[in-house]
């Protein structure tokens, strides 16, 4: 006798939201993975573009890495707090994550401004095209994450039910960590290579 083992709504045993976000991240992995693969191969074939990449502000990017890693930490803490149903802690960690994300974008903007002032525009050469393309797409993802986090923070502050908050913090967190992971690879590939 087989068959009567399923539960409607969650046949796979994984909540739909989590499945959905992982599928989304799989597709995003293809986008960033394809882009990074192309970048690495082109850069390798062109001999490394070191004369261009040495104009980058490694310390700004290192600070940004620190900030993004820390924001992942606060995000993970927000999820832990949500699982414990601690509304204040959840909210504070979400707000910290948002603050760190804003800081990241601020430093990124300073970095762009400095590069542009020095005359390095997207069409200054292949490295700069990739630099602005890759970091720009990543920054757009950070911005998207910030919007999602802000909406979530408002909902949490307004006392949305834990059932929902837990799941939304987890989904948003998965996305936010993914954006962090992308940066973990962007940093060495763009700045340190």
């Amino acid at each position: 006798m087989n068959g009567l083992n399923a539960i409607a709504g969650e046949t796979s045993g994984v909540p739909s939201g989590k499945l959905g976000i992982w599928w989304f991240l799989a597709s995003e992995t293809m986008t960033f993975g394809g882009l990074l693969g192309v970048f690495v191969l082109t850069r390798y074939a062109a001999g490394g573009w070191h004369d261009a990449s040495e104009h980058l502000h490694v310390w700004m990017a290192a600070c940004n890495t620190l900030i993004l890693l820390t924001s992942s930490f606060t995000m993970a803490r927000a999820h832990a707090a949500a699982l414990r149903h601690e509304r204040r802690a959840t909210l504070h960690n979400l707000l910290a994550t948002i603050g760190l994300g804003l800081l990241f974008l601020g430093i990124k903007a300073l970095e762009y401004a400095s590069e542009l002032r020095a005359g390095f525009t997207p069409h200054s050469g292949p490295f700069w095209g990739f630099y602005y393309g890759l970091t720009g797409l990543h920054a757009a993802h950070v911005l998207g994450g910030l919007i999602a986090l802000a909406v979530l923070a408002v909902a949490t502050a307004r006392g949305q039910s834990w059932d929902l908050v837990e799941r939304r913090v987890e989904s948003t967190g998965l996305y936010w960590h993914f954006v962090d992971v992308v940066w973990i690879f962007l940093f060495p590939l763009v700045y340190l290579s």
Partner: protein, 580 residues
């Protein structure tokens, strides 16, 4: 039962027209919205085909009914070569991205998957609505590109760089920018829709509905959505880079810094799985219809499922066969030739399984069955002719000719239109509660079948003659002049093919009012969607169904009836035969 569903139906009277018909979150309404939009776009795609075909058959002559076009596009009705390129480009773009995708994934996927798995709706109803309206916005952006100065995109639906990467090469500026934005948005729409389909299938299956009891249509939609999700990423990246090339002056796809071949790789890494994204739902519809009208199970269910999975995996490893003569490293041709030819094996198994399903059946030739059988016959041609162009050495000659055009129309037209029409004739009673006219349906099928073959068979011959595609005026070339009668034949057939759709339009509009009421299960089919009223209420099922068996239990020996619905509890053993 009625009370139960009124209780959960937020759409009952309290909800306004606006929420009910426009910003609906009901998968059936969203599915119908996709369907309607895709059919409207198909009219436009057909119109572009008509203008192109006329120019090809009678070059430099005035095309009837185009007098309203501005002189820059058609001077006294004679099509301008630049406008011809726009038509070529937009025909492909519209048909692939704005007809086939919304019809097969958005329309059929939305309407059918939740019903077939016994779910009340898609997993994310609001995301579903968002994906439709994103798609709608993409469609409007694409259409608006016809109206901007210098007109629509004209670099071919494959948008090959560097022709597409620098406005000076085509003279089109915003047309191509809008094309890129519209296509990127379309991808986002189907990314959201695809995630929804996949999660719905994984998570909302009725109790007892294991993967090996899923209707094959659901398997096909699932595979199709997964293929799309995993292949589209690099092309989204590519589209962004191409936009940067156009707007910010970068050189990702322009030498000397960039590489035109990179665009082709990114495009076809998506483009080839996309072929299967478009093919599989059509195959699924046919596989649902064959057992119902042959009154017997699908032959080799598991073989079909595994073949489909194999096709999906292989489809990621064949893309460079679109690039044999594009200047890629010639050593790549061998592995990609092998994978290309390998992929014919699982597809052959599916096709053989379709035919074997008829063996020892009791076949009724209702309209959906006619379309399904038409699919087998025409797709057979599409599949077999793929072997010619999959062989690298022969592709050198056939690449970029009408042979390729004929081949992919024989592969995609069966899926999108034969599969699509089969599905519409089969499930229209479910979606609208009324039967379509058999007589009009048969007329529609007969005309379309004959006209379709009359359009595209001559194109194979044009291809044998070496006729390049995307040529504005074949009479320029000495070696093409003897082929002109074939162009005339194909054009006349195109016009017939377009008019052949009239019975369909009359049928779907007329039958909504005058069709015979369908009842819940007019075809006496076994899958879950037929256990709910036609049309299904909001929420689909009065109570969550339970599944006891596979989807194709027809003519089971000793069952009494010739169909055992999936949700009918098994009869208790001999002791109490009457206690059903």
């Amino acid at each position: 039962m009625t009370e139960a569903h009124v209780a959960v139906d937020p759409h009952a009277s309290a909800v306004g027209m606006w929420r009910r018909y426009v910003f609906s979150t009901d998968h059936k309404m969203i599915g119908r919205q996709y369907m309607l939009l895709s059919l409207l776009m198909a009219v436009l795609g057909g119109a572009t085909a008509y203008v192109m075909r006329w120019q090809l058959a009678w070059p430099q002559s005035s095309v009837p009914f185009t007098g309203w076009l501005p002189e820059s596009l058609a001077y006294q009705g004679v099509i301008d070569p630049a406008f011809y390129n726009q038509l070529v480009t937009m025909h492909g773009t519209i048909m692939i991205f704005f007809v086939a995708m919304p019809m097969l994934l958005g329309g059929l996927g939305n309407c059918l998957v939740p019903l077939m798995i016994g779910a009340p709706d898609m997993a994310f109803p609001r995301l579903n609505m968002l994906s439709f309206w994103t798609f709608f916005a993409a469609s409007m952006l694409l259409l608006s590109s016809f109206l901007v100065p210098a007109g629509a995109a004209s670099a071919g639906w494959t948008m090959y760089a560097p022709l597409s990467a620098r406005p000076i090469y085509t003279g089109v500026y915003w047309g191509i920018n809008l094309w890129l934005i519209a296509v990127a948005l379309e991808f986002v729409a189907f990314l959201l829709g695809g995630i929804n389909l996949v999660v719905t299938t994984i998570n909302l299956r009725a109790s007892g509905l294991t993967f090996m009891r899923l209707p094959l249509m659901v398997w096909m939609e699932l595979t199709s959505a997964v293929l799309f999700l995993l292949s589209v990423g690099p092309l989204i990246a590519g589209v962004l880079l191409l936009l940067l090339d156009r707007l910010a002056g970068t050189s990702f796809f322009v030498p000397n810094d960039g590489d035109p071949l990179l665009w082709q790789h990114l495009f076809w890494f998506f483009g080839h799985p996309e072929v299967y994204v478009l093919l599989l739902p059509g195959v699924g519809a046919v596989l649902e219809i064959l057992p119902v009208f042959a009154r017997k199970p699908v032959f080799g269910y598991r073989a079909i499922v595994w073949s489909t999975a194999a096709t999906g995996v292989l489809s990621f490893m064949v893309w460079a066969h679109h690039m044999f003569i594009s200047g890629i490293d010639p050593r790549l041709a061998t592995p990609f030739s092998i994978t290309t030819i390998l992929i014919s094996v699982p597809l052959a198994i599916v096709l053989f399984a379709m035919i074997a399903t008829l063996w020892r059946g009791s076949i009724r030739f209702a309209t959906p069955m006619l379309w399904a059988l038409g699919f087998i016959a025409t797709f057979l041609v599409g599949g077999l002719t793929g072997i010619f162009v999959g062989a690298a050495a022969l592709d050198v000659y056939f690449h970029g000719t009408y042979f390729v055009v004929a081949h992919f129309h024989y592969a995609l037209f069966p899926s999108v239109f034969f599969g699509g029409f089969a599905a519409i004739y089969f499930w229209y009673p479910k979606m609208f509660g009324r039967m379509l006219s058999e007589r009009l349906g048969q007329l529609h099928f007969a005309l379309t079948f004959v006209a379709f073959n009359a359009v595209f068979l001559p194109m194979f011959v044009l291809g044998l003659g070496g006729h390049m595609r995307r040529i504005y005026d074949p009479t320029v070339y000495e070696f093409l002049r003897p082929l002109m009668p074939l162009h005339v034949a194909a054009t006349v057939a195109t016009i017939v093919l377009l008019f052949s759709q009239l019975p369909f339009v009359i049928n779907v509009i007329g039958s909504r009012r005058f069709g015979r009421p369908a009842g819940p299960n007019p075809w006496r089919a076994a899958t879950l969607e037929w256990t709910t009223p036609s049309p299904p209420p909001h929420g689909n099922f009065a109570s969550a169904p339970t599944v006891y068996r596979g989807p194709y239990e027809y003519s089971v020996p000793g069952a009494g009836e010739d169909v055992l619905p999936q949700n009918q509890p098994p009869r208790l053993r001999a002791a109490t035969p009457s206690a059903v």
